[in-house]
């Protein structure tokens, strides 16, 4: 019998498998993942799990399906797939036949192609990465973080709180520039500076110097930063190689339509960080969204839609979620709704409430439409601004 295979046993894959099992589909659901663990939660890796030395149990994700409804295979990867024949080839030599497939293989961190020692340079995406980071921190005083995105900034905050001297090195002139814009990025940078984080911005690292372990990071402007440990947080690439050979567009994740289907076939869907899809609430441009909540929403949608198709032959309506993202840095909770990163013109980014050096709400506009908001603090106002974005989008966007 050929059931549904969900490839990638993390957040999106688990939610897809759970939703499928709950949908009444009875053909069998197999969830396979190449990590040696049960599904677990990644956001704590740069926050609570690092600060509070949490162990695996604290970050394990719970399944909401009935026990036994999903068969979980861990420690095995998908090596390739033949969509035409409905066959998946696994790293242990097995073949699985399927009538439906969900691709939820996520991302892996990039590493910079600069000279560096063999030890003391790490990335952070998996639980093993966290264990390595903890081990590598022993005896370290100065840490250099390359990359000033959310993960780099969260790590800077957590490690500063743990007493390390942290420098953040990146080409942009303020941290979190692309998602937040110059002004809010600058305000958050002032907060980090006050808390003791060092920044080496507007420059590129060209080498990590040292013997077996790092001693310093040298940049293209001649500056250098002491570091006995270097963390690369410079973005990621999508895990799509296993889908090659099927004529798909895999140039940046798995290209999907507005129903998360790929290859023009309703039996194949993608979910989570790997899915590049148009959200018609905004426009018709396909994008990948690296948000925890989007992994849940896409996973649930994919599981439900596939369950419905395979049990009743019915298609599901287009998937038009409200993106939401949070980040914790020091005592600050940064919460975004919508797609603030769509707006790059500083004139279209305005403070809606509060002020940049305290609690603030920033609005991101495309012409007259509020396409995103970012709140720092103001927890009581989340609902109000989330609603403001969805109402503005509903009023302003012509269907694509």
């Amino acid at each position: 019998m050929s059931g549904v295979v969900v490839v990638g046993a993390s957040l999106a894959g688990l939610r897809a498998a759970d939703a499928l099992a709950r949908s009444g589909y009875s053909g069998g659901v197999t969830l396979i993942g190449d990590e040696p663990h049960q599904p677990y939660n990644r956001p704590p890796l740069s926050k609570e799990a690092l600060l509070e030395e949490q162990e695996f149990d604290a970050i394990r994700l719970r399944s909401s399906a009935k026990p036994g409804a999903v068969s979980l295979l861990t420690g095995v990867g998908a090596v390739s797939a033949d969509l035409g024949r409905g066959l998946l080839f696994l790293s242990d030599g097995r073949e699985l036949a399927f009538e439906g497939l969900v691709a939820a293989t996520g991302l892996r961190p990039r590493a910079l192609g600069i000279p560096k020692p063999s030890g003391g340079v790490v990335v952070l995406r998996t639980y093993e990465d966290l264990l390595r980071l903890r081990a590598e921190l022993a005896g370290v005083r100065d840490v250099a973080i390359i990359g000033a995105g959310f993960i780099g900034c969260e790590l800077a905050a957590s490690l500063t709180q743990l007493g390390y001297r942290v420098s953040v090195i990146a080409p942009e002139d303020v941290p979190m520039l692309r998602p937040l814009g110059e002004e809010l990025g600058g305000a958050l940078m002032r907060h980090h500076l006050q808390a003791g984080v060092g920044f080496g911005l507007s420059r590129l690292p060209v080498a990590v110097e040292g013997g077996e372990r790092p001693e310093r990071v040298v940049c293209n402007d001649g500056s250098s930063f002491d570091a006995q440990l270097v963390i690369e947080a410079v973005g990621s690439s999508a895990n799509v190689e296993w889908l090659e050979g099927n004529g798909l567009d895999l140039s940046d994740g798995v290209l999907c339509d507005e129903r998360l289907r790929f290859g023009g076939d309703g039996r194949f869907l993608a979910a989570g960080d790997v899915a590049r899809f148009p959200n018609l609430a905004f426009d018709s441009i396909p994008r990948r969204v690296e948000h925890w909540e989007m992994a849940v929403d896409t996973g649930r949608y994919a599981g439900k839609a596939l369950g419905r198709l395979l049990t009743s032959g019915e298609e599901s309506p287009a998937f038009t979620p409200m993106p939401a993202f949070w980040s914790d840095q020091f005592e600050l909770r940064i919460q975004s709704f919508g797609m603030p990163g769509l707006v790059t013109d500083p004139g279209q980014i305005r403070v809606l409430e509060g002020d940049l050096d305290g609690e603030v709400v920033v609005g991101y506009h495309r012409e007259d439409t509020l396409v995103g908001v970012v709140l720092v603090g103001f927890p009581q106002n989340h609902m109000k601004y989330r609603t403001a974005v969805s109402e503005s989008l509903a009023a302003g966007v012509a269907p694509a």
Partner: protein
Amino acid sequence: MKVIVDLNKCNDHGQCVYSAPEVFSLNGRGELSFRDEAKDLYVSDELDESLRDALEEAADICPMQAIEIEG
């Protein structure tokens, strides 16, 4: 069916409110309003079966994995 929220795990993200507004809400300070009634663990009264889908969605979307459905 009951819903149980571990208020020590809950970080007042409020995501549950969008999924199941019939059950979850935030108080004026932006905290989960169950905090006004309970300290460590909130256990609801018996809830209507029609809410199951919404509650499962809330449990799935809670970033802190603080919500459990019993029964």
